[in-house]
């Protein structure tokens, strides 16, 4: 994979930069775009993003490693992010975590062999009224029970 954006994405980068008086404020959006395009942020991607924003690669690396939503290694097609912070813990997140681990045969931080699922536990997702909750990629699922979870995971192709 060659590390550069196609023409239309380079135009998008220009649009992102236009929102700010300084180019480097667009780094967050450019990294999201890079992640969408390349799957995750490798050192080569960091270098490329650095070149687009006239920043040192070390600066980009600091930003990438500071925030949890920039992926530093590949994840499965479905990234399961289960909240186990206080409200979800009180409402059964531990049982859900046990069920996912058992069902998929992976531990937190791991990906199933065929590359379909990655399991993370995450901090509060701001949907505590529906606890326990999780996100799969960019979609939120609430009021989970072990059975509901089973059906949900089975329904994903």
């Amino acid at each position: 994979m060659s590390v550069s954006f196609p023409e239309k994405d380079r135009k998008l980068v220009e649009e992102m930069i236009r929102h700010y008086p300084h180019k480097k404020s667009a780094i967050g959006d450019v990294l999201y775009l890079a992640q969408k395009h390349f799957g995750y942020i490798t050192p080569e991607v960091e270098l490329y993003v650095a070149s687009l924003l006239d920043l040192p690669a070390s600066y980009v690396h600091q930003v990438v490693t500071f925030y949890s939503m920039y992926l530093k290694k590949p994840v499965g097609k479905y990234l399961i992010m289960l909240c186990d912070n206080v409200s979800c813990l009180l409402c059964g997140a531990e049982d859900l975590l046990g069920r996912i681990k058992e069902k998929l045969g992976i531990e937190v931080g791991e990906t199933t062999q065929e590359g379909k699922f990655t399991l993370w536990t995450v901090e509060c997702l701001g949907a505590c009224e529906q606890a326990p909750v999780m996100m799969i990629n960019d979609k939120l699922y609430g009021n989970l029970t072990p059975d509901k979870l089973d059906r949900l995971l089975d329904s994903l192709e």
Binding site: H19, K24, Y67, L90, E123, C124, G126, C128, L140
Partner: protein, 433 residues
Amino acid sequence: MPQVKLISRFFEIENSHRLRVYEENGGYSAARKVVTENWEPDKIINTVKASNLRGLGGAGFPAGVKWGFVPKDHEGPKYLVVNADESEPGTFKDRHVMINAPHLLLEGVIIAALSIAAKDVYIYIRGEYWEAYHVLERAIKEAEKAGYLGKNIFGSGHSIKVHIHRGAGAYICGEETALLSSLEGFKGWPKLKPPFPAVKGLFSMPTIINNVETLSYVPIVIEKGPEYFAGLGVERSGGARLFGVSGHVNRPGVYELPLGTPMRELIHEHAGGIREGRSLKAVIPGGTSCPVLTAEEAEKVNLDFDSLAEIDSMLGSAGVIVMDETTDMVKVLCRICKFYSFESCGQCTPCREGTGWMARIMERIVSGNGHYQDLDDLLDIASMIGGNTICPLGDAAALPVTSFIKKFRDEFEAKASAGSITAASSRLSAEEL
């Protein structure tokens, strides 16, 4: 006290996120009034001051007073920043506002921006809030098309451009100076105050940062008058706010109540009481940073800034986490400690190291390998973090530790001593061998 339906009335109206529906329900009349009647910035600021509206993100600073700090003679840009980085565990009210009433927020943004003469507004929204992001993005487009945002708003000659900036998963960016660092394209490191953002903030320019809920009350204050809003609450805690109740209650959700409402009413009436007929054990009143309350304290306290301060806690973000008699307080504190350890930005040594130590000691206690000494060590570490860091994350990490151990000491001692006995007996058996 019954619920008031100021912001939350939009939670019940179908398609309230659409401009047409919002306007059918009286939307944008406050902004139109301020613009077409050509209100001076001071008039806006004084109105908001008179309403006693306080910052509802957690700190509780009076909103109008904050706006008044922006230097009027400043040449060059000024900014309004909306803090939509809701991530205090137990807090979810802003998500409801953005999804159900994005135009109410935008209307508040217009009025606040006019009060400080800001032409560019950044909404910093947490990265995980995909739905709210899409709803807001569409609302901004609708408002621009209608001529309420963008150039020449309401035909007045004023221009306000609203930009959305997505965060990327860092709790610390909810702290206003860290949020500014992040918006400037850096990692979210807090900065020392002073200078305060109102004087030197985003891109070194005067900047006001307000929470989503705070700004969403502004059109209501203008529309209904500051006296009405102030009159809803109690002295020094004006108005109403959105309480997010979660945990062991029958009806978790967002309830809008006048400040000063008894907490027992929120829990037992509005939120439907403790689930499965169990009894109350403890309550975290405003997100995990706030010192925990015993059942007895929770049953007595009123929900306003001063009443909670009197019992050494805080109203914080009004994210109320309710725990019933089955709750393992040791486990809950352990999870809270792990959270702050993970989210410490690493800039100040007491917080970076201390939160890690506390989390590791708590994990040891939970796993049954604790020692009597651990509890005193935890209190000692907490006392060395609190007040010794650039931003309040250090205090936020220390306060739960001291309050949980102080108020539930027996439970912590029982769990920690179990480890001591195991450790002692394993030493004994090793000696016997």
